[in-house]
Amino acid sequence: MIPGRDEEPEPPSGNRIRPYLQAPVTEPDAAEPTGEDPSAALRPFVLTAGRVVGVDPAIGLETQVTARDGPPQRSLPAGAPELHAIVALCAAPMSVAEISARLRMHLGVTRVLVGDLRATGHLDVHTLDVADPRDPETIRRVIRGLRAIS
């Protein structure tokens, strides 16, 4: 069950808001023949049921995510291709930023969904594996690695 679904604001009743503020915010753009799926801008927020907070702050751009072996605690909903796509993508280690870019999902949405999939046992999120930027040996390894580039 996705929390926050019941927190959707009620639709404007029509009388208490000035007319110009009632202008639909999505329709003018959606009516433009942009060549893209007009629902693309809306869809990510539907996926998270509007949630933008409550994300584990340890899930950063570079945090590595892998699909978890073994049976998950529950199966993925069939109507959520994005969730299936994330799990499929993470067969190899993948950063949160890469998931966002490759699936063309907003970063904030990606972080929410990755957190959900960790909670349901589909993904391992290696939040403890971020290197300490103040560890001299890590920095030396990066320096050596870059010097090897030609």
């Binding site: 751009l61 190899a92 907003h106 290197a131």
Partner: protein
């Protein structure tokens, strides 16, 4: 549990492959100690699950059109990818680089790339917008960053002030990289340093964002600064 040899010579019980994640100590799961010599040149199987490289990141900051994406692309082993984050304020009419620019959306795009250092360490480079109105997302971006390269166009220095202010306040090692378009600078390095009013310890280097080795050298200056800070903090 008996030690099961696995194809790459490690043991299942040691590395947790057949145990539950909760059973492993923090930060000791799917990869060995960074100095473990066994992790030298071992090729990784792409289908191997559950072991992931340790990510490190460097920010490449700067205003629109100064060459951040070019910089990232020059050194990244993958073509730069773009991720989008929501922006809370509209920027209509501000970001126009030229007439017809369509940067009026409420999202901000970040281009990024990566360099695999070795089997267990991967460097990410994130190109980040330099303007102050994106400040809300900087703390997120900068958390855990080794350092930053602030890319400036010597003809348009004003766009990097927020980035410099931010890194100074956040105590993140940074270097100013003056992108030498066409091999020429509008001002010499000393004039740039004076105009930006950066601390004498902040390196101001000239580089060419299109050249892989030039970008590498600029990043190495950043890492040098990062190492300095790390050693200083470890020393006392």
């Amino acid at each position: 549990m008996p030690r099961q040899p696995v194809p790459d010579g490690r043991h299942a019980d040691t590395y947790g492959r057949h145990t539950e994640p909760a059973a492993r100590p923090p930060n000791a799961g799917w990869h060995a100690d960074p100095v473990d010599p066994r992790y030298g040149e071992t090729p990784r199987k792409p289908t191997t699950r559950r072991r992931a490289p340790i990510p490190v990141k460097i920010l490449v900051a700067g205003g629109f059109g100064v060459g951040k994406t070019t910089t990232v692309g020059a050194i990244s082993e993958i073509a730069p990818l773009t991720t989008e984050a929501e922006m809370t304020t509209a920027s209509i009419g501000i970001d126009d680089l030229h007439a017809g620019s369509t940067k009026t959306t409420t999202t901000v795009a970040m281009d990024f790339g990566c360099v695999t250092i070795d089997g267990s360490l991967k460097l990410y480079l994130f190109g980040t917008p330099g303007q102050s109105r994106f400040g809300f997302m900087w703390d997120d971006l900068a958390r855990g960053a080794l350092g930053a390269l602030v890319v400036v166009d010597s003809a348009r220095l004003d766009e990097c002030h927020f980035a410099i202010d931010y890194f100074e306040r956040a105590n993140i090692p940074f270097v100013v990289g003056v992108n030498a378009f066409d091999g020429r600078l509008a001002h010499d390095i000393n004039a740039v340093r004076w105009a930006l009013a950066v601390n004498d310890q902040v390196p101001v280097v000239r580089f060419d964002a299109r050249q892989r080795l030039s970008v590498r050298d600029a990043i190495l200056v950043v890492l040098d600064r990062a190492l300095d800070r790390a050693l200083r903090e470890r020393g006392g």
